[in-house]
């Protein structure tokens, strides 16, 4: 299925390769580089590249390309999902997935790749199983080793587990904590397109419930919601019992140990989504002498919560040379190379709305831009899920301790765009 994997950095170096079958020379990556040259930017590289004898399926994560080489028919999404899983696993193991991190931990990386795929077919991809097979590098251990001068002797586990894999694939057996705690983060991201006049073209909510479960033993949790009706489009971690959900709308599961995404849901554009901010804008370019910009941001339908972390990003047209603006709150920057105008506002005080206005200087002689730039908006509203979702209660079965439980709600801007 997957013959080989090449990891390529942003400057085009193949700095790691792994072959699960016969070796495929890395010159195969030239096809990928060709495609990269043709594309305007890295995002535009097609995920599948056909070469005379091979198919290159690639993903781009944290500025690294993971290029899988296949030779035969294969479900492409399967490969793409797998590659993402590989990166997720690296992030899980090393905290982040950068070139230097991968180079530093190449032995663990190699062992992981070896466990995850056998003959090109996925073998063990659940993080918890992998952690039983290959111990993640431990900061404490690393420090201890550095102090004691033991070099990297034990940075990799020196042992195999004795052959007791957990009976629940996503959970390690014999988990122990002195403090038993379970935290649930309900995060909702608002994807919206707002038109010129401030009307909502489309607005959707993408929600996630991430959990951080540190419970001993083999707990069996049930999570109920005040308004589970909201979930009409939902996807689950494999631990969730689908049938129980379908019949009772109760989330029943044996949680994975540590951090995991329990479910994600989608509230489609058919339902009405309350947009927590509004942007009043006036951007105009004159035929000569540049243009003017005047933007005011204000809260709207926030249900009494404060809108924080507001950042506006405006990719200016190519012809813009500079922006000369005054802001009443926060800071703005304009990068003349990427033409990105960034206004970091922070928290919005409803009594004194932040405003940014001023002149835009345009390359002399060039015609005014055909269209106004769009405004990308970021914001955070804490302690509330925009959809109104609320966790009702969490019950624990199977273990006798009483864990500490916590739920946190956050609403964020996802792909939130204002057309001007």
């Amino acid at each position: 299925m997957i013959h080989s994997l090449f990891i390529i950095n942003s400057s085009g170096d193949v700095f790691m390769e792994k072959h699960w079958k016969s070796v495929i020379p890395r010159s195969i990556c030239d096809y990928f580089f060709d495609a990269q040259r043709k594309a305007n930017n890295n995002e535009d590289i097609p995920p599948v590249i056909t070469t005379p004898h091979h198919y290159l399926l690639s993903i781009l994560r944290s500025n690294l390309f993971f290029v899988a080489v296949c030779m035969t028919e294969v479900p492409p999404l399967f490969v793409i999902e797998f590659l993402h899983r590989v990166v997720d696993t690296f992030e899980d193991y090393f905290g982040e997935c950068t070139e230097s991190i991968i180079k530093e931990h190449y032995v663990v990386v190699y062992e992981l790749l070896d466990e995850m795929l056998d003959n090109g077919f996925p073998l063990a991809t659940e993080s918890n199983i992998l952690k039983e097979l290959i111990k993640p590098p431990n900061i404490l251990r690393t420090i201890a080793n550095t102090v004691t001068g033991k070099s990297k002797e034990y940075s990799v586990s020196a042992t195999l587990p004795t052959g007791q894999l957990s009976n629940v694939p996503w959970r390690r057996s014999g988990v122990k904590y002195t403090n038993n705690e379970a935290y649930f983060d309900v995060t909702e991201e608002v994807d919206a397109i707002i038109d010129k006049a401030g009307g909502t073209v489309t607005a959707e909510i993408q929600g996630y419930i991430d959990c951080c479960v540190k419970l001993s033993g083999m707990p069996d949790l049930t999570l109920t919601f005040m308004n589970s009706r909201l979930f009409d489009d939902i996807s689950f971690h494999p631990c969730v019992r689908l049938k129980r959900w379908e019949s009772e709308r109760v989330l029943s599961f044996i949680p994975p140990d540590g951090n995991s995404r329990l479910l994600s849901y989608h509230i489609g554009p058919q339902s009405v989504v309350a947009i927590p901010v509004y942007i009043r804008h006036n951007i105009s370019f004159r035929d000569v002498g540049g243009g003017r910009l005047d933007i005011t941001v204000g809260p709207k339908q926030t249900m009494g919560r404060v809108v924080e972390g507001v950042v506006l990003e405006i990719p200016m047209p190519k012809c813009v040379l500079n922006c000369n603006l005054t802001v009443t709150q926060g800071k703005y920057t304009f990068d003349p190379v990427s033409k990105l105008l960034n206004w970091n506002i922070g928290r919005i005080d409803p009594t004194k709305l932040p405003n940014m206005r001023g002149n835009i200087s345009v390359q002399s002689g060039s015609p005014p831009p055909e269209s106004n730039p769009i405004i990308n908006v970021q914001f955070v509203v804490t302690q509330r899920a925009l959809s109104g979702l609320k966790v009702n209660r969490l019950d624990i079965y199977g273990e006798k301790y009483n864990p500490f439980k916590g739920v946190k709600y956050v609403t964020k801007a996802g792909r939130f765009q204002v057309r001007t």
């Binding site: 999404l77 999902e81 062992e111 586990s157 052959g163 489609g268 269209s371």
Partner: protein, 1085 residues
């Protein structure tokens, strides 16, 4: 990158190494050593030397540049006796492999380390071997015997790993060995090993396709496996080796459908794809002759909810003219929940299943799930959009025009963001175009209008093309009133008078050439379809084009103008008359046709579909047969139960198996035999490891598991279909349990073994007959396996026979395991039900073994005084023997003495008042205690590694007494036998916070070492580790419940009485208490 330069000198050196290597493994290599050493010498590929000049600077250690050869230092390190050096060398070699540098020269030096005792070195050698074995076939053969030996290892992971590496060595000579190993492994107890065996099958097939027939038999066996872990890989092997043997699937079809939800994600994809093909060969087209009926059900589409219900609603099913085959329905129903998978590949594979196999109205179910995927990574988006585009095109082509597209409700999700990558944008345009209908065209066109202003020129061109297509394809079917709408949308000004201000002409001069050409075409088409309203617009565009700088555009404008507006006097121009035909009528969407049209031929979600070309190995999706194939082939009367034949069961285990009633096995940590029989019920629901779960959580587990089973049962009833498996039989029991849950939870600990064995076998029963004979069967299997172990050697491949026997003998020498279920190789596995109370992996180090206690306390502690109880005295003593019920439990012997004059009847344990996490297994009740007599009972208490008292009620002669047992910390431990090296290794891992130490001075000066040892034995259930130094005493053990290592070392000072005591344990409470205990004990000496 490396020119192969042969240097005979080096080769000779290499061979010397190999000779040495042969000696190392001589015992095991009887089969290969002779043949390889003679035959391979001639053909040995000379190791590549030199040209590794550009050793990477990023290497962790600088590589010294020896003149003799690049890797002399590495070779020396590999030759050294120190594992540390070897490990370092191997890491550097793997670094070279990872960077794609040639490390083949080191092959001889590396390969001999395959026998290394250090697992880490071994693992890295394996990685290296897989990479280079193909190039150095003869040398690689030397390692084979090691793998053969490892294939018999008690640890399932080692067996699996050995098989994986052995099968990855692409050397044709070993085909027979691989075949035998695979055949052995498919009967292995461990599902993990069986999974690996499934993975090995395609490897062997690629190496030698002639083995196909034999492999098919193996695959057939694997397909009948009931374990979710295995079936995915089994189907994968089937797809790789013999996808045409669809007959192998018949018997397993229903099982695969039923297991589908619980198979791991990537297995689901493979199974669904295979079953899609299967369904297309076995069932008739559900859409055949039904279109009219479906159309009557128009409101169907309006209401999503109703639609979902309808799918499961038998009444609706009845309405259909032709009933779908039950099995056909079964597949669709079982696949449906997977639309909620978090894995996009699974969702898409279900979507294609529905698209290709389901009745058309039901396909709409998948739309929402697919739309959800659009929020995923860019790459996923691209693939999903391609498939959506294809689905909508296909629907559009086939479906009734008035029928809405399944994606239409999600129209807005396809709106383009300026931040989308270009290929995503054009895919979204494609979808939007396909979704255009009379009701939404205005919305779409308004949206398109905003796109035209984009700075992405390619995208603007695509948009204009899309406008043309969505309008003209609609015009084809809809009346001209849409042109008005369209015209209004395209023309920015709402006022007809200022048509010249309209957006299109305005932007015209500044557009790229490609956009201009599109505008021209669009304007022409607009005019031809609706001359009245767009005449001016069209003429204006032509005028603009006339003076364009690009001659292509001028030419095009002139040509089309002549056609559309013939010059005066030439109105009868023949071409002009047919202008409409030329521009519009030639094909339904005139100039632009969806590029997704011809993808129809490919199955959705495949690579071929995505790249729109036939990929190697693509199998065409067969058309539905006109007549359904015989459905009876799928009926399985007797469930195909996977019966392992060749259990790996080390001798010590069968020997030391404790004698206990059958209930022991079903209650407690599940022994191997059962795990397989139960694996099916386990896989049925995520958590129904009920039968074997520990006492503490058994009932909850049961309950949750039974819920699933209940659901299944409901489905079953609805289906009114004979299931191949009787697993649902447990349903009724489960219901009962469910209702009586509270009681059950309370009583969970007290349930005596008989009841729990019944309940567990109920819930895990395969079918009636089997469940009843469950336990007796076990016994039989056990005996059988014992016998098999004895003759195990006979089965081995030729030469390795001796070594295997050696190995077995070795194992028999190992100390009697204190808790055999713990160490059973066949135990566990990813999905085999094993109790949650089962301890985690033993502490690292292969040589660490549980041992028996060195000291057994004789002192008793009085729990109940006869004065208080009226004659009954109860005393307790810690026996330091493993408790049979659970390895986590500490055995406490209670002795009951009747000091009174009358008989005391019925002594048993009443209510338990335990702290959370603790468990108590009661002793067998005493019916009569004669006056003056003393009887004993053994309690098992899981103290959960705390010194909290275990309080319980003792019921004796109708009276209840509160008793409470507190274990001294030393009794919470279990001794472990380990080598000094293991001790040091583990101690070094438990530094820092996990280490406590203190000084202690004995009251007598210079106490004898043995005195201290005895003292420590007395207070803590540990085992001394043989040390090289006489001044340090080391003791190893683990906590009973959590199995956390406890390491105690006492450093005796040479001169004085001061000794320093160090305790390493991750449980701080344990270590601090233990340290105090030891300190106070030593002081008293």
């Amino acid at each position: 990158m490396c020119a192969a330069t042969s240097r005979p000198v080096i080769v000779e050196g290499a061979w010397r190494l190999i000779k040495r290597q042969e000696q190392d493994v001589s015992a095991a290599t009887s089969f290969f050593a002779s043949s390889s050493s003679s035959s391979s010498a001639a053909a040995a590929p000379y190791p590549d030397v030199g040209c590794m000049v550009d050793e990477d600077a990023a290497m962790p250690l600088p590589v010294s540049d020896l003149a003799a050869g690049r890797h002399e230092d590495l070779k020396q390190m590999l030759d050294s006796n120190k594992d540390g050096l070897k490990l370092e060398a191997m890491k550097r070699i793997i670094g070279m492999v990872a960077k794609g540098r040639d490390a083949s020269e080191l092959f001889p030096a590396v390969v001999k380390n395959v026998v290394s005792a250090n697992l880490e070195v071994k693992k890295l050698v394996y990685v290296y071997l897989v990479r280079y074995a193909e190039e150095q076939q003869d040398l690689a053969l030397l390692s084979i015997s090691t793998f053969q030996r490892a294939l018999k290892d008690p640890n399932q992971l080692i067996r699996a790993c050995a098989l994986r590496v052995l099968s990855s060595i692409r050397v044709p000579v070993i085909v027979p060995i691989m075949m035998l190993s695979i055949k052995d492994a498919v009967s292995d107890m461990s599902p993990y090993v069986r999974k690996t065996a499934a993975h090995a099958i395609p490897k062997l097939y690629n190496l030698d396709p002639e083995q196909k027939e034999e492999l098919i038999q193996v695959i057939e066996k694997l397909l009948s496996d009931e374990t979710t872990l295995v079936v995915g890989s089994a189907v994968m092997a089937f797809e790789e080796v013999c996808p045409e043997r669809i007959d192998l699937i018949h018997k397993n079809y229903r099982k695969l459908c039923n297991l589908l939800v619980d198979v791991e994600e990537l297995g689901q994809v493979i199974i669904i794809n295979m079953l899609t093909r299967y369904a297309r060969t076995q069932f008739v087209d559900p859409n055949a002759g039904q279109i009219e009926v479906e159309d009557k059900e128009q409101p169907f589409y309006e209401d999503e909810e109703e639609e979902e219900d309808a799918e499961a609603d038998p009444e609706k099913l009845q309405q259909r003219p032709k009933m779908m085959d039950h099995d056909h329905r079964l597949l669709l129903r079982n696949a449906k929940p997977l639309l909620q998978s978090r894995n996009a590949a699974v969702v898409l594979s279900v979507a294609q299943l529905y698209q290709h196999v389901a009745p058309r109205p039901e396909v709409s179910l998948v739309a929402r799930a697919l739309v959800r995927l659009l929020r995923s990574h860019r790459e996923v988006q691209a693939v999903v959009l391609t498939n959506i585009a294809s689905m909508s095109t296909r629907r559009k082509a086939k479906a009734n025009r008035e029928e809405k597209d399944i994606f239409e409700p999600y129209l807005k999700s396809f709106f383009v963001r300026s931040s989308d990558p270009t290929h995503i944008k054009s895919l979204k345009l494609e979808v939007l175009t396909n979704l255009a209908t009379d009701t939404n065209i205005a919305v779409i066109l308004r949206e398109f209008q905003t796109y035209i202003g984009s700075s992405d020129k390619e995208f603007v061109a695509a948009t204009i093309q899309a406008i043309g297509r969505s309008c003209s394809s609609l015009l084809f079917i809809i009346s001209t009133r849409w042109v008005t709408v369209m015209g209004q949308a395209v023309i920015n000004g709402k006022n007809k008078k200022i048509e010249k201000e309209s957006l299109l002409p305005l932007v015209f001069p500044s557009q790229d050439d490609i956009v201009k050409l599109q505008i021209l075409t669009l304007a022409t088409k607009l005019y031809l379809t609706n001359p009245k309203q767009t005449r001016l617009l069209c003429q204006y565009v032509y005028n603009l084009a006339k003076y364009d700088t690009n001659y292509d555009i001028r030419d095009r404008a002139r040509l089309t103008r002549a056609l559309v507006f013939p010059p005066q006097g030439h109105e009868d121009n023949k071409l002009a008359k047919h202008a409409k035909k030329i521009f519009l009528a030639t094909k339904p969407p005139p100039v632009q046709q969806s590029s997704f049209k011809d993808r129809d031929q490919f199955q959705l979600s495949t690579l071929s579909h995505l790249i729109n070309a036939r990929a190697t190995g693509y199998q065409d999706l067969p058309d539905f047969p006109a007549e359904a194939a015989d459905p009876s082939v799928r009926c399985v009367e007797v469930p195909a139960i996977f019966a392992p034949e060749n259990h790996h069961r080390p001798a010590y285990q069968s020997r030391s198996k404790p004698k206990k009633p059958e209930s022991f096995y079903s209650d407690e940590s599940s022994p191997g035999d059962e795990s397989d029989e139960e694996s099916e019920s386990d896989s049925e629901s995520d958590s129904s490891d009920s039968s074997s779960s520990g006492s503490s959580d058994e009932d909850d587990e049961d309950e949750s598991g039974s819920d699933d089973e209940e659901d299944d049962e409901e489905d079953e009833e609805e289906e009114e279909q004979q299931q191949p498996k009787g697993k649902k039989k447990g349903g009724s029991t489960s219901v009962k349990k469910h209702s009586g849950k509270c009681e059950a939870t309370q009583a969970s600990g007290t349930e005596d073994s008989d009841t729990s064995s019944t309940s567990s076998s109920d819930s895990s029963s395969e079918d009636d007959s089997e469940s009843s004979s469950n336990s007796s069967e076990e016994e039989i299997t056990k005996k059988k396996s014992k016998a098999e172990t004895a003759k195990g050697g006979d089965r081995q491949v030729g030469g390795s026979k001796r070594s295997n026997l050696d190995l077995l003998l070795d194992l028999e020498d190992s100390p009697p395991a204190m808790d055999t279920p713990l160490l059973t190789p066949s135990l566990g596995g990813l999905l085999t039900p094993s109790p949650s109370s089962q301890p985690p992996a033993l502490p690292p180090g292969a040589s660490i073994q549980p041992a028996s206690a060195k000291f057994i306390p004789v002192t008793k502690q009085e729990l109940l005084n006869r004065i208080n109880s009226g004659g009954l005295t109860v005393a307790c003593r810690f026996t330091r023997s493993p408790h049979l019920y659970s390895p986590r439990m500490t055995s406490v012997e209670l002795s009951f003495t009747n000091s009174g004059a009358e008989e005391i009847k019925d002594i048993s344990v009443g209510a338990k008042k335990l702290a959370p996490g603790m468990a108590l297994h009661e002793f067998a009740g005493i019916t009569v205690l004669a006056p003056g007599a003393t009887l004993c009972g053994t309690l098992g208490i899981d103290f959960n590694d705390t010194t909290q008292p275990a309080a319980f009620d003792l019921v004796a002669g109708g009276r209840t007494f509160n008793l409470s047992i507190t274990a001294p910390v030393g009794e919470l431990l279990m001794p472990l036998a380990m080598t000094e090296a293991d001790f040091n290794l583990n101690q070094s891992k438990l530094k820092g916070m996990n280490e406590l130490s203190g000084l202690v001075s004995a009251s007598t000066s210079q106490p004898a070492t043995s005195v201290i040892v005895d003292k420590i034995y007395e207070i803590a259930n540990l085992l001394q580790v043989q040390t090289s130094s006489s001044t340090s005493l080391k003791f190893g053990g683990q906590t009973a419940s959590g199995k956390a290592l406890v390491l105690v070392s006492v450093l005796l000072s040479e001169s004085g009485q001061e000794s320093s005591v160090t305790v390493n344990c991750e449980k701080l409470v344990i270590s601090s208490m233990l340290l105090k205990e030891i300190q106070s004990a030593v002081k008293k000496i």
